[in-house]
Homo-oligomer: 210 residues x 2
């Protein structure tokens, strides 16, 4: 049986129920840890499911932040210093990654309280997560306000990447199942992917039978 | 062994290899079909992996489009008519969904050539995908240019949603594994999720042992 809701019915739903429904209806989301450091040297780590690919050349990724909500330490550090890291959540650190979302004081590092390790390498300003296998160092290059709801699209240019050599294919794709990268749905549920299909670049003169 | 690339090394990589690497490094992406109809009545369907949750109240989703690339029929129809649908790709329609990315002429409907069914319901202007179990009807409410690379963030307000009654939990989360919603990595690889963890809302006074 199909459940149908119109916008007027959605707006009448209980607040938490509606938030969970709308957070899960867009589909599976990548689970990433955002690493930052304040100008005074305080590290910060927070889980985000709003990382998005914007383009390969230049290599740009985006991230939606809600600065009106506490904690907003990641956002403040990104603006103050211009640098951040994106680190994949792997299956074995999912619990630690989830709890970085608790509202810790700014002078507390989520690395310490959640049992993850800040790693500084190749002169990059922001901390990587040592336990993550896929890591990206980015420079903040634009900040686009989304006026409709007060969120902001933060845009980073990729400056450094790290991944296990054995997970890249001959054509440059990363095998995310080998990396055990996880995805999230809503605000509390985590999924592991398994690969079941690969198709070539689609051309109109080479369509398969459906 | 870890592979490290700096930005100068990334820029020297073969173009296709680099595109695949940067398209897969941000993590798993939701696979969705975007349904539109032109003012003259021509339906269009295209697979996108750039849908993003922007907020639950108002219920807003975003979509990154690259209007400089052909085909751009989805983008043109969205602007011309103000409406579009987001339909989850389920495992059993993944192959059909993938081939909607071929460069068909504007007077050809991807519904027809890829073997999917356009469904009109509850007076919504744009076509839903009958074969999808989770479907969202949206009104285009903003269009934000990303000047750094010529892409555009299209913002839709949710007007209608459809999902199977049996996949919603008591708290309003959709069980995406029950819906067999798939995610994508890069441009050619598809993954099925299985749920392995759920955690409560994180509070600093209720941290688990790590």
């Amino acid at each position: 049986m199909t459940q149908f809701y119109s916008i007027s019915e959605i707006e009448k739903l209980d607040k938490i129920y509606r938030a969970n429904l709308i957070n899960s209806i867009s589909g599976l989301k990548p689970a990433n840890l955002i690493g930052t450091k304040s100008a005074s040297g305080q590290t910060n780590l927070a889980i985000f499911s709003s990382v998005i690919h914007l383009g390969a050349n230049p290599a740009l990724l985006g991230l939606i932040v809600r600065p009106a909500m506490v904690p907003r330490h990641s956002y403040e550090n990104m603006r103050e210093t211009g640098f951040f890291t994106i680190n994949h959540v792997q299956k074995d650190i999912t619990k630690k990654a989830h709890y970085t979302s608790a509202k810790f004081d700014k002078n507390i590092s989520e690395f310490d309280v959640c049992g993850l390790t800040a790693e500084f390498q190749n002169d990059f300003f922001a901390p990587f997560v040592k336990e993550s296998s896929i890591k990206i160092g980015l420079k903040l290059v634009d900040e686009i306000p989304i006026k409709l709801n007060g969120t902001i699209l933060m845009i980073g240019k990729i400056e450094q990447i790290y991944f296990p050599k054995e997970i890249i294919t001959e054509t440059g794709n990363l095998e995310l199942n080998m990396a055990e990268s996880v995805c999230a749905s809503g605000l509390e549920t985590y999924y592991m992917p398994y690969k079941f299909a690969e198709f070539p670049y689609a051309k109109i003169d080479k369509l398969p039978q459906f």
